[in-house]
Amino acid sequence: MSDKWKKVEDIKTPPGPVTFTMEHSQNGYRMNAICYSLKKEENRVKFREDYEKYMAEFGLSEFEKELVRSRDWLKMIHYGVSPYLIGKMAQCFDLSFMDWGAFMRGEQAKEFMERNIPLLKNYNKDSK
């Protein structure tokens, strides 16, 4: 792991998009690996039961464990966790795609959806 970050707080989250590069992929490799393991139902069950134990068994570093505990999905994205893998972990914390996505915007899923549903309805009634 890069020693660019000593603590989770050191991960900067400037506004705007993140492009997932090889560097992200290498930084986030083990975090991505633990998320990838959750594509199996048996592992999701274990993670849900006791994620501390699951992380320990997986051999995550203390930094990586802190990152999971923080549930700071925006920091995870900047660190190098793939958006397609984050969801597998978020789901085991009973968070939907909208939940962790809206978190990155600094809002609740409910707010995000209530703002967007009228836009969606309005656009699609005229589409075709």
């Binding site: 998009p17 594509k39 925006l74 900047h78 793939s82 958006p83 589409s127």
Partner: protein, 277 residues
């Protein structure tokens, strides 16, 4: 000889999975989305399509970053459904056309596309998102999955995908069996899932893009992928896969169908082209 019947481009996303798995066609929010695929379903029937050649991307459902192929083709007899978090989906088994798939791999590699060749591939919403909307089940066609890395940058350029489309077309037309093949490009259009602009959608750009894509696709061949990401959000990098479909078509096309639906997180588009006479 095989017959190239035309091309389809479609978005793929989690919403398509959700809408199908919960059978939301009668929900007024979802009805226009379902209806936007009805003409595609009819076209596939009318053209008696035997094989759909999908240029799509995996979402770390099958491949992991230990070895993430830039281009990979499936040559399997059948494919499993990926578990994207809620178990494998309850959809019909996608069968491959093994001789055709092997032939395509062989042709494309000889034509300088250096592919990973896969005997197993779990298909995720990159293919199976839109598929139930445009095909009945059990599937009336065989599948050839051609996977493109669009998630770990650098990714193939617009021009590379365009050339891939040209090669796919040549290959199809040189195949000695009498089958009807359509090429499908999946992904896009505008969406951004990484960072503080989560949920960004650019419908004006999506429409402008589809205009250009139909009439003057060559004007975009030299664009860096970043140009698409700036205009349509970080995940619209997926749009490069549409150029494989467009590259397979003649310069002039006839539009059979086009629709843009505003999803919650994605400009969800579908279109069908045939070569113009």
């Amino acid at each position: 000889m095989a017959n190239f019947v035309g091309g389809i481009c479609t978005s793929h996303n989690g919403a398509l999975m959700h809408g199908w798995d919960y059978q939301l066609r009668e929900d007024p929010i979802w009805t226009p989305l379902f209806e936007s695929y009805d003409p595609v379903r009819q076209w596939i029937k009318d053209k008696k399509v035997d094989v759909l050649f999908f240029v799509f991307n995996d979402h770390v459902s099958n491949f992991f970053f230990d070895c993430y192929p830039t281009f990979a083709i499936g040559i399997a007899e059948q494919y499993e459904h990926a578990d994207e978090g809620s178990g494998p989906r309850d959809l019909a088994i996608p069968y491959g056309d093994v001789p055709f798939s092997r032939y395509m791999a062989d042709y494309l590699i000889r034509d300088e596309f250096d592919l990973a060749v896969c005997q197993e591939m779990k298909l995720d919403h990159g293919i199976m998102g839109p598929t139930p909307y445009m095909l009945d089940q059990p599937w009336p066609v065989k599948f050839v999955p051609f996977c493109v890395n669009v998630i770990q940058h650098p990714i193939p350029s617009v021009k590379r995908c365009w050339k891939l489309g040209k090669s796919i077309r040549k290959a199809i037309e040189a195949y000695p069996e009498d089958i009807n093949v359509a090429v499908v490009g999946t992904g896009g259009l505008s969406h951004e899932l990484q960072g503080t602009n989560f949920g960004r959608i650019e419908l004006d750009w999506d429409n402008e893009f589809m205009d250009k894509f139909e009439v003057e696709p060559e004007s975009m061949l030299d664009w860096d992928v970043k140009e698409f990401m700036d205009r349509g959000g970080s995940e619209s990098a997926e749009t490069v896969m549409w150029f494989a479909m467009r590259g397979a078509m003649n310069k002039k096309v006839r539009r059979i169908h086009r629709n843009l639906y505003r999803g919650m997180l994605t400009g969800m588009a579908v279109l069908v082209f045939e070569d113009a006479e």
